[in-house]
Point group: C2
Chain length 251, copies 2
Amino acid sequence: MPQTSISILGIPGLPEVRPGDDLASTIASTVRLAGDDLRDQDIVVIAQKIVSKAEGRLVRLSSITPSPAAAQWAKEFDKDARVVEVVLAESRRVVRMERGIVISETSHGFVCANAGVDTSNVPDGYVSLLPEDPDKSAARIRDSLERELGVKLAVVICDTFGRPWREGLVNVAIGVAGIAPLIDYRGQVDSYGRALHVTVIAIADELASAAELVMKKRDGVPVAVVRGFEYERRAASSSELIRHESLDLFR
Amino acid sequence: MPQTSISILGIPGLPEVRPGDDLASTIASTVRLAGDDLRDQDIVVIAQKIVSKAEGRLVRLSSITPSPAAAQWAKEFDKDARVVEVVLAESRRVVRMERGIVISETSHGFVCANAGVDTSNVPDGYVSLLPEDPDKSAARIRDSLERELGVKLAVVICDTFGRPWREGLVNVAIGVAGIAPLIDYRGQVDSYGRALHVTVIAIADELASAAELVMKKRDGVPVAVVRGFEYERRAASSSELIRHESLDLFR
């Protein structure tokens, strides 16, 4: 069809990522090994887990002493008290803590389950934390990739978050570099010539969701490329995606 | 790159949709006019607005008499009392109603702003409602398209919803036909051989978000095709995407 067309490409064959790895180099050589390249305007979407691993954001549970409160709550809901302790330590505010579920606000301002602390796809006895500054991680990876490959890119770091009211997780953006995460259509007119209201689209989250369609099973393919999508290239921060507390009806 | 690859194709040139139109026919002939076809396994993603229009789900505001409560609230927040009245009539329960914002649960069970009532991209003096039964709408369109084009398809009807805690709207699925809206990875193991927890992915929502990337500006391109995505073909309902009240911490 002669129309707008976007491709989402999964990048397979990435080796297991370890603390200290240069993720940009690993991605660049995996792309090269596949006999391909990245192109100007490509958006590289990277699963949080491998960014956290490369940055050594892993906590050995045997090093954690749970607080009495964490121990009590963990016992009540049959959870690992050390994991609960790490979750609370990663939370700057607890939004809900009931029925064995912790929804909290991370230091970055993201509201999500378990403050982004995850026990899957990490070595036994460890949990992973979110990157300390996912925007900085995204910017660093983008800079390296652009230098190494000689193209202009955007990078989105993503994680799967749950949502109130709806079942299932969806992939969202937790770090961005080189792409405006929101598109604001306010001030433009609809097809009847009237101003569009409330029409800010969270494009970075939609890109993350699109990328998840090829990532599948979470960490099977932790890197995807979105090609053919036109976007506003600029310095940006994932904090633009976080609703200010004063405007949020569900804090 | 020799890997998983998905295409998202916007279908341009759809004529203005009017009440009573056969949307499947319109889509089929628009695809043909573009000199192309749909293929087996394609997922046709359709913006709610044109489904509502075809089904005559438009309300003339001059026919509405606001209740005193709606009038009072509208006055306080500088809203059109007739729109507020329609929103409340479309709500089976109000979740939040403050600062000029109504978050409510629709008859379908969706929790969203204004019960899905929308004033943009409709004729002057009208508002649009969500389809009465978006799954049924999706099934009807799918059946017609399959019959007319001789291929096996899935259909997702989508709308842009806001979310707590995050800025910007994202496209989500409000009706599905022929595709399981959730993928459940529980019971599968991660790359370290341990069971994956909490790994149900809302694939229909991610498909809707992916489609929005080519729809842009909401109703500029109200139909998109996702090609190359493998999915579970089965009878399905968007109600699977709605978290049961008893499991929801934010009702």
